[in-house]
């Protein structure tokens, strides 16, 4: 097992290095440069200004030069500066990573907390009114665009009822009050979790249904073993495989999956920052966030594999 994990970690490093170059290449392949777009909004800029800025920022160097300089800095532990904001990447990225992490994690936990019981319930009452009602609820979540749901929540709870602030991350007047952040978290968390709750419900339901059809479960119930015990200990365990896959998949997207929700709620997360950094050729910010999300995906892919063999001891990894 340890050998397997070591081997996988080795692979992860290789993939990260390869992908980092590929991402760098992609960023460079994107045509156009925001420095050039400056000329569109400022009639006093001249082509000479553009050329000078490009040289100054090193945008006209070859990709190899740029990439090796970048990876050299990274290996030294220097994340570099954000070109748009002119502050160190860590200074602007870290607090936002924290905010996004809080939001995504609370949304994930909330949706699992709702989805697993509802999914199991739907499976146990398959093709009844309860099942259809839960189905409707989950399909609603899947087909509602997050901007729509977010704006509706803002209009209802922020504008009309005034229960929660319409947007923001914390109270500007009182930024250090950690408890004071909770009301700001409620609406975005609800939005984000409703988007994934439907998916989790459907997966739980279908795998539970699948598991309940197995002979040994039928036998167990027929033999008179306590129903709850059978359901949780045997059937649910069987349903775990796809749930693990889905949960680890959404974990690996923790830092990128909330962009729209964050933007709608003007929440100080990492999503919009990354979006802007890509459009603005802010390579240092973009690359660091890519590297984080690549590592997350690979790490959780490994965790998923390890959890599979825990959930189903027949699975052997080699």
């Amino acid at each position: 097992m340890l050998r397997y994990i070591f081997f996988r970690l080795l692979q992860t490093v290789v993939v990260i290095v390869a992908l980092s170059f590929f991402c760098y290449l992609l960023l460079n392949l994107m045509p156009g440069d925001p420095v050039e777009i400056l000329i569109q909004s400022n009639p006093k800029m001249t082509p000479e200004d553009i050329q000078r800025l490009r040289e100054l920022y090193g945008l006209d160097r070859s990709i190899w030069e740029k990439y090796s300089a970048w990876i050299g800095d990274i290996l030294k532990g220097d994340l570099g500066y954000s070109r748009t904001y002119r502050v160190p990447v860590s200074e602007i990225l870290l607090p936002r990573l924290g905010n996004t992490f809080i939001l995504s994690l609370s949304a994930l936990l909330l949706s699992l907390f709702i989805a697993i019981p509802l999914g199991i319930l739907a499976a146990l009452r398959v093709n009844t009114k309860v099942d259809y009602l839960i189905g409707l609820f989950s399909f609603g979540g899947i087909s509602t665009p997050s901007f729509w749901l977010g704006l509706m929540l803002i209009i209802i709870f922020g504008v009309q009822l005034k229960w929660f602030p319409a947007s923001g991350t914390y109270s500007i007047e009182n930024p250090d009050n950690w408890l004071g952040r909770i009301p700001y978290l409620v609406l975005p968390t609800l939005t984000l979790s409703y988007l994934s709750v439907g998916r989790f419900i459907r997966f739980t339901r279908s795998s539970m249904l699948e598991a309940l059809k197995n002979d040994y479960i039928r036998t167990a119930i027929a033999k008179g073993l306590p129903r709850t015990k059978v359901i949780w200990k045997h059937a649910f365990r069987n349903a775990l495989l796809s749930l693990i896959t889905m949960v680890t998949l959404s974990f690996s997207g923790v830092f990128s999956g909330a962009t729209i929700t964050e933007t709608v709620f003007a929440y100080q997360g990492v999503g919009k920052l990354v979006y802007d950094s890509i459009l603005g050729n802010d390579f240092n910010v973009a690359m660091v966030s890519f590297m984080i999300s690549v590592s997350m995906v690979l790490l959780f892919s490994l965790i998923a594999d390890l959890l599979y063999s825990l959930a189903d001891p027949r699975i052997r990894l080699h």
Binding site: P31, G32, D33, P34, E36, I37, L38, I39, Q40, S41, N42, P43, K44, M45, T46, P47, D49, I50, Q51, R52, L53, L56, Y57, Y81, T84, Y85, R86, V87, I92, R96, F147, L151, I154, I155, G158, V159, K162, W163, F164, P165, A166, S167, G168, S171, I172, E173, N174, L179, G180, I182, P183, V186, T263, V264, A266, Q268, K272, L273, D276, L279
Partner: protein
């Protein structure tokens, strides 16, 4: 479980109500913007939102007011050749301009603002390791001199004089007493200064600002808060606290206004369509807001690629313009609040003319468009499109993808051209691809729609002269995207840059407009309008409609 949930809900209710109560002070103004801002170093900043905010805390030598007139800000008066403030040598090779700074101009730590600051700013701006955007105005100045005894009287020396020497709206000084040590320490490193400037390291430091307000907090991507600057000796601002909040989604911005977490939406906020909707809604619901519209200097137009064999023919180009009903377009889509453009000079500009004797006008005339096309040999086929020698009259039409207003205009025009038998295919690209590749290398085959932001009396050299046609040879520089080349026009552009007499410049500009409209290589569409939503109790607020924003006059704002 239920108990926990209830206490949770209760707690959040209390918190949120606390937040709502705390923020309704009377002399506070909370402004919503939807565009990102960066650090407030006046030399380095390049985003519109940053300039918007900076103009409340710092001033330039001069600025352009809402009527399009240059007025002095840090300077006592604007030097010109007529008033003797500027002297041109007889051979027109040397120019000396005397700028007298206001006696009471001070930094917000009480240090007087002097020529030393101007000279320091000039030095920083010209240093090769500093990433300043627009350097032209500094590069043209060869020297800044002053007498030690009178450090408020600065002489600018030019060796290659231009007539627009006194339009110093972007000359915003840096405080030498604070920034000089940092600059000396970091100037040898590329980008060193802009990373270590106090505006980044400690933006609330006293002494960095000279405007009516000073910064109390900057959180990038979130908000900026301001309070009155005690050392400002101009008109004292009446509003005691200003907060500028960044809310990137425009629908949320509106929701924040309605939920009273912001008091107004700046011109960098709502989209035009949204503002129109809001102004109607606000009226029917009786909301205490006024929606302001102000025609701006942003010129929307369509460039025609003259390399396209179809578009080489002048009458086809004219037909394209005659075939579209721009009056109806602005009435229908903009309720007449954005105005039809007849050429690239805005009505605010002294160079403007709409005299039909001087320029060619193109009122909507479908019949004429059809006749011109018929005469050019494009005859209607069975499918209602025009053909000539078996070739279809078909053009691609590009613009920036995701810009809803442009897409609506595009779709409307497409229909109107279809009515005269011209097939128009829409092909849009993200802004950075369109401007970075497609227009820059002239890869668009037919038409491309976008906007120029202009300032009054701007030299048209980069968009009209033959040298400005981007090509491999000139390293794709210049913005003459249609590829228009006319030696006559080149001559006029040349003269225009060297003409010091304002009246003669106007005549030259009119000649230029004659060519611009008659040769029809650009289809002028409309001038965009700036929109802002302000509370009814805010007085003294005037939109300017150009790149020198209304925040330059923030001390006139008051809440009643």
């Amino acid at each position: 479980m239920r108990k926990i949930l209830l206490t949770f809900l209760g707690a959040t209710l209390v918190f949120s109500m606390g937040a709502a109560v705390a923020s309704s002070q009377k002399s506070e103004l909370r402004i919503g913007i939807s565009q990102e801002f960066e650090n407030l170093n006046p030399l380095i900043m390049s985003m519109s939102a940053t300039t918007y905010i900076y103009s409340m805390v710092g001033r330039a030598l001069v600025t352009l007011d809402a009527n399009g007139k240059w007025i002095p800000m840090l300077a006592k008066s604007i030097p010109s050749i007529e008033n003797g403030g500027a002297k041109l040598s007889a051979d027109k090779k040397k120019l000396t301009v005397v700028w007298e700074l206001r006696e009471d101009a001070k930094w917000n730590d009480g240090t007087p603002l002097t020529c030393e600051d101007l000279a320091f700013t000039h030095e920083v701006a010209l240093h090769p390791n500093v990433a300043i955007g627009e350097r032209e105005i500094y590069r043209n100045i060869d020297k800044i001199e002053w007498d030690k005894k009178n450090p408020k009287r600065c002489t600018f020396v030019y060796n290659k004089p231009r007539w627009d020497f006194n339009q110093m709206g972007s000359f915003r000084p840096l405080p030498k007493h604070l920034e000089s040590p940092i600059f000396l320490k970091t100037k040898n490193e590329v980008g060193g200064y802009e990373k270590n400037t106090l505006y980044v390291k400690n933006p609330t430091q006293k002494g960095l600002y000279n405007g009516p307000y000073q910064i109390t907090e900057v959180v990038l991507g979130s908000h900026v808060t301001l309070e009155p600057n005690p050392h400002f000796t101009g008109k004292a601002p009446s509003i005691q606290k200003i907060t500028i909040k960044l809310i990137p989604n425009t629908a949320t911005l509106e929701a924040n206004l309605r939920s009273n977490t912001i008091d107004m939406i700046s011109p960098l906020g709502l989209s035009f369509d949204q503002a129109i909707m809001f102004s109607k809604k606000a009226q029917t619901e009786g909301l205490p807001y006024v929606t302001l519209f102000r025609p701006s200097l942003v010129y929307e137009h369509i460039d025609l690629n003259l390399d396209n064999p179809i578009l080489k023919e002048k009458n086809v180009r004219k037909a394209l313009i005659y075939a579209i009903n721009r009056e109806e377009l602005v009435k229908a889509l903009f309720e007449g609040k954005q105005t039809v453009a007849i050429h690239n000079i805005a009505p605010l500009d002294p160079w403007f003319t709409d005299d039909p004797k001087k320029i060619t006008l193109y009122p909507y005339n479908k019949k004429l468009a059809e006749r011109l096309l018929d005469e050019a040999g494009w005859s209607l086929g069975k499918d209602k499109y025009r053909y000539k020698n078996g070739q279809k009259l078909s053009l691609t039409f590009m613009t920036t993808a995701g810009n809803k207003t442009r897409e609506m205009v595009q779709t409307m025009l497409q229909e109107q051209w279809k009515a005269v038998g011209i097939e128009v295919t829409i092909k849009n690209e993200p802004a950075r691809v369109l401007f970075g590749d497609t227009t820059k290398k002239r890869q668009f085959t037919g038409m491309v729609m976008y906007a120029w932001v202009s300032v009054p009396e701007n030299s048209p050299r980069s968009t009209l002269s033959c040298d400005a046609i981007p090509s491999e040879k000139n390293g794709w520089s210049g913005q003459n995207y249609p590829g228009y080349c006319n030696p006559e026009v080149d001559k006029i552009v040349e003269q225009l840059d060297r003409e010091f007499d304002a009246q003669k410049r106007i005549q030259l500009a009119h000649k230029l407009l004659k060519y611009y409209t008659e040769d029809a290589f650009v289809i002028p569409l409309y001038y965009r309008a700036d929109v802002a939503v302000i509370p009814k109790r805010l007085k003294g607020y005037d939109l300017t409609g150009h790149m020198y924003s209304e925040t330059n006059f923030v001390e006139n704002w008051r809440l009643e």
